[in-house]
Amino acid sequence: MSLPVQLLWLIPALPLLAAGIGSLTPRSGRGLASGAAIVAMAISFLLSCGALATALAQPAAHLVHNFAWFDLGGSAVRLGWLLDPLTAFMCVMVTFVGTLIFIFSTGYLHEDANFTRFFCFLSLFAAAMLGLLVANSLLLLFICWELVGLASYLLIGFWFHKPSAAAAAKKAFITTRIGDLGLLLGMLWLYDSTGSLLFYDGGQGVLEATALGGLVAQTTIGGLAVSTAIGLLIFCGAIGKSGQFPLHVWLPDAMEGPTPVSALIHAATMVAAGVFLVARVYPLMSADQGLAHVPVHALTVVAAIGAITALLGALIAVAQSDIKRVLAFSTVSQLGYMMLALGVGSWVAAIFHLLTHAFFKALLFLGSGSVIHAAHHEQDIRRLGGLRGPMRATFATFAIGMMALAGVPFLFSGFWSKEAILHAAHNWDVSHLPLYAGLAAVVLTAFYMTRLVAETFFGSPRSEEASHAHENSAVMTVPLILLAVCAVLLGFLGTPAYPWLQARLEGHTEVHGHPIFEGAGLLMLSIVLVAVGIGSGWALYGRRPRANANALDPIEGRLPGLFAVLRARFGFDELYAATVGRLNTAMAALSDGLDRYVWDAAVRFLAALGEFGGVVNREADEDVLNGGFDATNDRLRGTARSYSAAQTGGAHGYLRTVAVGFVLLVLIVMLGGGV
């Protein structure tokens, strides 16, 4: 079965339809709303598989179907669908993970009063993301991009009665909007320079050689190539959406939404959008690579941002105590990895990591959701513990996810994708700093994930809630198991020995592998680093479990200053509050003052002037003009009264008048010799 590109729109349309159904369903229609959402997503998954089959049949081609949206004078605004392996793989991932998350949600939100609304939003979220994936136009992509933002706002703030959730939703929305402004500017600039927003259009698209050549040839402020500037502006959008430094602050706060939403945001939909965007416009981003004279290449910036984010996120994650926050910062860190990979020139490795990460991060989030659900919404790992016994399925799957994320060698998918990124960083000839940042993050990742698992599942329960926890129903565990299986198996699609996925993404039909141990030095190093991370984590947290909920963290005991800084997340929120927030307040005060004292005074003066003129006028008016007008008006009123007497209110009379008038008219015409 394969899906022609003309019908690609069906993939986002079905969840959209489900969202429509969900929005029209009354609160009691739980089964209908969730059923529609899940069925739509499952069908989309099948369609995506069809699309994948189509794309794999000719991986090098960019199949497009363009159409005119509306006419603008001479030219038309055109949109279109695009099908290539990148789109197809992403669609399959989003729909598969999405389906499992949807199923999980029916269990997780079982008792929520707004169950139907939740599924409406979820479907909208998925539909927007899928639309973004299949778009062949930066405009369509932007529309879906904003829809993703809207849906995430609605979902993060789903429990809007909690002030923290409402604030987090607002924060996520506003923060990502900052990045989106860059994207919008980039888009406008791009349209201005090339006259098109279609990615591929038979040689006319913005990602094709003609347009790129034109963009590279021009330079703008500071000697940048135009393509670099546009690329960086577009990258701003990705920074916002994918939670990159310095706009990463919204991502941990987005944990306020229900856990399936976190899973969806962190694994499949929202944050993946940024990475996908960069990968999609990769020809544009890398267009300036051949130029030697430019001050900076777009990809260098991407790599720098990615490296900083990877390290930063991993560091902060070490000191967090909320189970979801640890995972959130790990997402930040992993997204940094992906950006790093994009920056060092291997977008294929980035997408590989994006896919594997989607599965194991969804697994981890759903696992944490399972824990939270079982522990009656206790999220603090200091107050959990000892869940290994009562929650076997959750523990096993969570451990698989943890090992995939930590990069435990050979068996787990995370290892292979991370390895691909490190390799790419190693081969980057500009600088090795990203490589070092990545290696440091490897240790930290292994460390904090071990800490998380040890604190949550080992030891003894440290609170009332944790001691009463028991395993959840099959509707929640079965998705976990499925995801766990994928988290293991997926890595084998892209091992260095047989890099099938990479080859297909790059458009090759045959696969050229090389022995796994070819660049064994780096491989060994990272295995050692992982071992160090896990070992130190186990030594600190696993061997001597925390005694009670209030006991000091081992690191806190030894390095209290560093721990406090990390726990406070380097104070980014405070920094923004102190700088951006303060600046905003100051500007507001300034504007207020300007308005109050300068403009207002001017207006008041004019008003007084006008008033004076009015007084003069009135004096002239009352005596001179009014007298005449009054007389005229009296005359008019008299005439009108006599006319209105003809208005008898009787319909017969009117009709009679019309008929007589008709007769007279005809007579005049006839006797007058015709017209």
Binding site: M1, L10, I21, L32, I43, G50
Partner: protein, 407 residues
């Protein structure tokens, strides 16, 4: 001026003799007359045939209905006249003909007389366009469907005339009810078959039947009832047709417990029989319409059954529908007036409008094949079922199934 089309289309040589003999018979008889009179004689023969056949069907149907209702109510039904009561229709006829014809003194005599005549005349008029068989279309019209409903609309008038002319408050109330009911159900009735006209692209009965030729997978006939929207439309059509022909459970104008015999209260003898006849004719005509629109007309349901003459298939389908009507009459209790109008306006009309959308979707996606065909069916079924469930829930809000503790 319209050239009068041949009252029956000429038989083509390809048909079997079984198919052709009515036409051959007519042409042979007409051949005895001089040429200018031939079409007149042909038409007369057709008209006589229709009146005779459906008169007979009417007689048999009265007996059948009473027998069936008897079975439903666990009693034997008429069984005294002739073997198994088979001669009952004849006895009824003689009784009706010989009964005194009473006209109330203050009645409007002319209208009182005209009402049953007009009713019957309009009922029979509708037969003119129904294709009874492969070649048996009495009048081949371009806008046959429209003609059918135009002629059917006039029957409402006759019922009103009967009710008003009787000068009886029960009759008048019944007439008002009948008007309200007919106006309410005209809309779903018309809306229910608009999708078919949309899909078939013609108003001609023959054209609609031609569109239903052929088989899916070699054995499922391509009748419109075998599509999601067609099934929904058929259900709506059936309900509306029941209401249009004043059949139970929509027989409010003649609700015995409330209005004596409704607009028939002041009628007796042969006029009463005419009303009765017209009601059955109306029922037969609407059934014939349903067969033409939804059930493939005179077409055979399976390929290897095509050797049976088409008019027999039509007759079999007609009998099936009539039995269904009788069964419904024996089973369902009568609705209340407000329930009746609510059902029409709040349920059938929106449903029919939704169905229009479904049919549009169906028509737009006719190019889909392979797995997409599954999606097409799924979406169409969803478009039918979801509004049905939602609207039905709105209709029965606050009404729960009763539970009987001691039953």
């Amino acid at each position: 001026m319209n050239a009068m089309p041949g009252i029956f289309a000429a038989a083509t040589g390809a048909d079997s003799l079984l198919e052709r003999w009515p036409i051959l018979f007519r042409d042979t008889v007409a051949g005895f007359f001089p040429a200018p009179l031939q079409w007149l004689v042909g038409s007369l023969i057709s008209i006589l045939a229709i009146v005779a056949i459906f008169g007979g069907v009417f007689a048999a149907l009265t007996l059948l209905e009473r027998k069936m209702l008897g079975r439903v109510q666990n009693r034997p039904g008429p069984n005294r006249t002739g073997p198994f009561g088979l001669l009952q229709p004849i006895a009824d006829g003689i009784k009706m003909l010989t009964k005194e014809d009473i006209v109330p003194r203050s009645a409007d005599h002319l209208l009182h007389f005209l009402a049953p005549v007009a009713l019957l005349a309009f009922s029979i008029l509708t037969f003119a366009v129904i294709p009874f068989g492969r070649n048996l279309v009495p009048l081949e019209l371009d806008a046959a469907v429209l003609y059918f409903f135009a002629a059917g609309a006039a029957t409402e008038l006759a019922i009103f005339m009967a009710g008003w002319a009787s000068r009886n408050k029960f009759s008048l109330l019944a007439a008002m009810r009948a008007l309200a009911q007919l106006i309410s159900y005209e809309l779903p009735l018309l809306l229910s078959f608009v999708p078919i006209i949309m899909l078939a692209g013609t108003l001609s009965m023959t054209g609609i039947i031609d569109q239903q030729a052929g088989w899916n997978f070699g054995f499922i006939p391509k009748w419109y009832i075998f599509t999601p929207w067609g099934f929904a439309a058929f259900a709506i059509f059936l309900v509306a047709a029941l209401a249009e022909s004043n059949r139970s459970p929509f027989d409010l104008p003649e609700a015995e417990s409330e209005l004596i015999a409704g607009h028939l209260t002041e009628y007796s003898g042969f006029k009463y029989a005419l009303f009765f006849m017209a009601e059955y004719f109306g029922m037969i005509a609407l059934s014939g319409m349903a067969i033409t629109l939804f059930l493939g007309g005179w077409r055979a349901p399976l390929p290897f059954l095509e050797f049976i003459p088409s008019y027999l298939w039509f007759g079999a389908k007609l009998l099936g529908l009539l039995l269904l009507f009788i069964w419904i009459r024996g089973t369902f209790p009568r609705l209340r007036m407000d329930q009746l109008t609510r059902l029409a306006w709040k349920f059938l009309v929106p449903l029919a409008l939704f169905n229009l959308g479904t049919a549009a979707f169906w028509s737009l996606t006719s190019g889909w094949s392979g797995p997409l065909q599954l999606a097409r069916w799924g979406v169409a079924i969803a478009l039918v079922v979801v509004p049905f469930v939602l609207l039905g829930r709105g209709l029965s809000r606050g009404v729960a199934p009763r539970t009987y503790r001691f039953a």
